[in-house]
């Protein structure tokens, strides 16, 4: 009996605390001004418990504090709050610029406060940003994947920047491809902040082990397949030498886990070289229809079917929950010898401070804790890295040309600022700080990314980077996605079909093509697709 009473007393105390917290939570729901809150919750709760108002207010503050990240708070009467939403990879681009912007603002008498919404690694940035836009909760200034610009512009989410760039001296430093990528129907909707190219990464040490030439540069798809088959025959030797339990020669991403990367990294690199332009694309710009079947599509699927069916590529890496991390790790460990990937991997992936640095190099340079910190260590590591990892240009199907594709992220202004000229001006000012030459050069050099501004080359830290200089050559033959509205769905179809190929559910290129065509028809409508003649040789 006394035990029971104790229990009940404890429960009642907890319940009271809980009810207070529930009140706080309801208060928090009320603190955001929107439809439901104003109509339903307010009427019900406010009329019922006016007493808790003060409690709610003070407590809401604490909850908000712990829950959201608020940047520097300038405590003046009514500051303009400018929200910037961006992914964690752009932290070092955005944060220094914000400081400069705020210094500028206070010296010019603006009472402005920048609220940062930083989306950390691990969530799907574009999915999140897209839904924020659709819900109307996206930031005032947002960093988005440039291929989303047409879709967002069509949906009316983006404010056109034509008048700003017209009077912006820096605009001239953006090369034509970098301008084209942010333009849709004659209007500029964003400013590129970084760009990239894609290539074949390969492991020099493994190639040597198997008697393949280093440096390596395949001339056609057949060259790639040949090298891969040779590597497969050496697998036991390689596994023993590296002390690993599995080995795959090649890795082209497949499946829906990779999301857009399957299409961009894997499929486009094949498609663009699989036939002559303009039939090497997903979209026919003449007829304004999505291409359902074509020789190029057939050949690209054929490559997937051939390599996955013959065990040249790893199946399960495509389906782990962390595909990016796994890809970087297995390449770094030598479980994969040839990898199609982005130019940023040099730094972000297996660089001295990357996510999956090379273990032998770490040991050699005495880097502890998996990262090199001192400049001598970094120097040592960079030299060592070049011994192990090389990159090659992706050849076309028959070797007639080189292929690569560029994407990159752009900074845009939310259309909801259209009616707020003062905020609009400040937002643009913030963008100019972020995209300024020095800021861009600093950031791109640090992360091994390609600067979209041509004048970055004037900044020593960027110019000094030989790697960046080398891959800048790729920009000459680079291409872009068919990023029209509807692209995401077509891309999803590619992810689905390549996923089925990888899992072994489809073992024939023609079946894959038919399946793809079926899906595209379902997703964009049968009226919006066209079937081109297919050469199966």
């Amino acid at each position: 009996m006394p035990a029971e009473r104790g229990l009940s007393i404890a429960a009642i105390v907890i319940a009271i605390i809980a009810i207070i917290i529930a009140g706080i939570a309801i208060g928090q729901a009320m603190s955001k001004p929107h439809v439901l809150t104003k109509t339903v919750v307010t009427t019900v709760v406010k009329s019922a418990v006016p007493v808790t108002k003060t409690v709610v207010k003070t407590a809401t503050a604490t909850v908000t504090k712990t829950a959201t990240m608020t940047a520097t708070v300038t405590k003046t009467s009514k500051p303009i709050v400018l929200t910037i939403e961006y992914g964690e990879p752009w932290k070092d681009l955005v944060q220094p610029a914000i400081q400069k912007f705020e210094a500028w603002a206070s010296s010019h008498g603006y009472n402005v406060q920048v609220k940062q919404v930083m989306l950390p690694y691990g969530i799907n940035f574009m999915q999140r940003i897209s839904s924020d836009f659709a819900a109307g909760t996206a930031g005032d200034v947002v960093i988005i994947d440039s291929f989303m610009i047409p879709a967002f512009a069509k949906a009316g989410y983006l404010y056109p920047l034509d008048n700003f760039v017209k009077n912006w001296p820096d605009w001239q430093y953006y090369p034509e491809p970098m301008k084209k990528i942010v333009t849709w129907f004659g209007h500029v909707y964003g400013i590129m902040i970084d760009t990239d190219v894609r290539m074949l990464w390969y492991r020099k040490d493994i190639f040597k082990m198997c008697g393949l030439p280093v440096p390596w540069q395949p001339k056609s798809w057949q060259d790639i397949i040949k090298a891969a088959e040779k590597l497969k025959s050496c697998a036991p030797k390689i596994e023993k030498a590296l002390g690993i339990n599995e080995f795959y020669p090649l890795y082209f991403p497949a499946g829906t886990k990779w999301g857009e990367a399957t299409t961009m990294q894997g499929f486009y690199m094949l498609l663009l070289g699989a036939a002559k332009p303009p039939y090497n694309r997903l979209y026919d710009y003449k007829t304004h229809k999505w291409i359902c079947k074509s020789t190029a599509l057939y050949r690209s699927f054929w490559f997937y079917v051939y390599t996955y069916k013959n065990g040249l590529e790893p199946v399960s890496y495509n389906f782990v929950s962390n595909v990016w991390g796994t890809m970087r790790k297995v390449f770094s460990e030598g479980k994969v010898a040839i990898l199609v990937g982005g130019s940023w991997e040099w730094g972000e992936g297996w660089g001295p401070q990357g996510i999956a640095p090379l273990k032998p190099c770490l040991q050699k340079c005495g880097c502890t804790g998996g990262k090199c910190t001192t400049s001598s260590q970094i120097q040592c590591y960079t030299a060592c890295e070049a011994q192990y990892i090389g990159f090659a240009k992706m050849p076309s199907y028959n070797g007639s040309r080189w292929v690569t594709i560029s994407g990159g992220w752009a900074i845009v202004i939310n259309d909801k600022l259209a009616n707020n000229p003062e905020k609009l001006q400040l937002a643009w000012k913030l963008i100019t700080f972020i995209t300024s030459r020095d800021n861009e050069a600093q950031y791109c050099a640090k992360y091994g990314k390609i600067c979209p501004r041509s004048d970055c080359a004037e900044v020593p830290i960027y110019a000094k980077n030989t790697y960046l200089k080398e891959i800048s050559q790729f920009l000459k033959f680079t291409d872009f996605r068919d990023a029209l509205p509807g692209y995401t769905k077509v891309s999803y179809a590619i992810q689905q079909v390549t996923g089925m190929i990888a899992k072994g559910e489809i073992t024939n290129a023609m079946t894959a093509l038919n399946k793809y065509c079926d899906l595209v028809k379902r997703y964009v409508g049968a009226n919006n697709v066209e079937v081109l003649p297919v050469q199966t040789s």
Partner: protein, 277 residues
């Protein structure tokens, strides 16, 4: 002693050993890995130097969020939800057991149906609605939605609990000078206190384990409850530190296990009630 060994026990033993093996499999892996400071692969290895390193690592931010923040979030959400549901189901059960009115039977049937509905069927329309109302990422809204989801459970338990307490005590109290509500609060409620504690704890653990609703309705990692946090963790870029996830899972599971063992007598009774009826 010379007593013959009963051979017939061997199949029973074999069966029990199989069950133990099958059910211990993933649990043992989780517990062992949680104490392995170097668990970078899923392989089962008994750590040579078991330590609490993984638990300490959880205090360091991962992509800007300290994992323990998720536990704190879960505590806030679950406590609030449990408090709200307990209070609300208390009132509703009082009305349902102490009054009779038209539509009562239909109401109880409706609660049974809601109790059995898959959470996903409610989560999807809620996602649509919350998007339209701008309530995504909002704790208040999440707590209300969670409470609504859990309410049919707690309400049915509260109802059966109060039904089991004779109404005579309340009548006596009313004659002694209480109002109807007063009699309920002064007499029945103290008698039902252990039951209320059970309801509160049950609501707490159901809310604590809830995954679907927060997955749909919460999008900012720093606001995640622990359940979504684990999933987010697992889908993390870079190295997967299995030890860390295992440690986090362990911390996350312990309150549930403790609570269930506290209320298990009641739980069994409740399940037995399903048969007896």
């Amino acid at each position: 002693m010379g007593r013959r060994f009963p051979l017939s026990i061997i199949p029973v033993w074999a069966f029990l050993v199989f069950v133990i093996w099958y059910f211990a499999l993933p649990l043992v892996w989780m517990v062992v890995t949680a104490f392995n400071p170097n668990a970078y692969s899923v392989a089962f290895e008994i750590p040579k130097h078991p330590s609490l390193a993984n638990f300490l690592k959880l205090a360091k931010p991962v992509s800007g969020v300290v994992p323990y923040q998720w536990i704190v979030n879960s505590v806030i959400i679950s406590l609030a939800t449990a408090g709200l549901t307990t209070a609300v189901s208390l009132g509703a059960a009082f009305v349902l057991t102490r009054f009779s009115f038209r539509g009562q039977g239909a109401m109880l049937t409706a609660f049974v149906i809601f109790r059995l509905l898959p959470a996903l069927l409610i989560a999807l329309p809620l996602l649509i609605l919350f998007r339209m109302w701008g309530l995504l990422d909002n704790y208040g809204a999440l707590i209300l939605a969670l409470s609504a989801l859990i309410l049919p459970f707690t309400l049915m338990i509260a109802e059966s609990y109060f039904r089991a307490i004779p109404i005579t005590y309340e009548e006596a109290a009313m004659i002694d000078g209480c109002t109807k509500v007063g009699a309920f609060l002064r007499v029945t409620l103290p008698l039902a206190a252990p039951g209320l504690a059970t309801i509160f704890l049950l609501a707490f653990v159901i809310a604590w384990s809830q995954f679907v609703l927060p997955l749909f309705l919460i999008r900012t990692p720093s606001l995640f409850p622990a359940s979504v946090g684990i999933y987010f963790f697992y889908g993390q870029y870079g190295k997967v530190d299995y030890g860390k996830i295992a440690a986090f899972s362990l911390i996350y599971s312990i309150p549930v296990i403790v609570v269930y063992f506290v209320i298990q007598k009641y739980l069994r009774k409740g399940i037995a009630g399903l048969v007896a009826r």
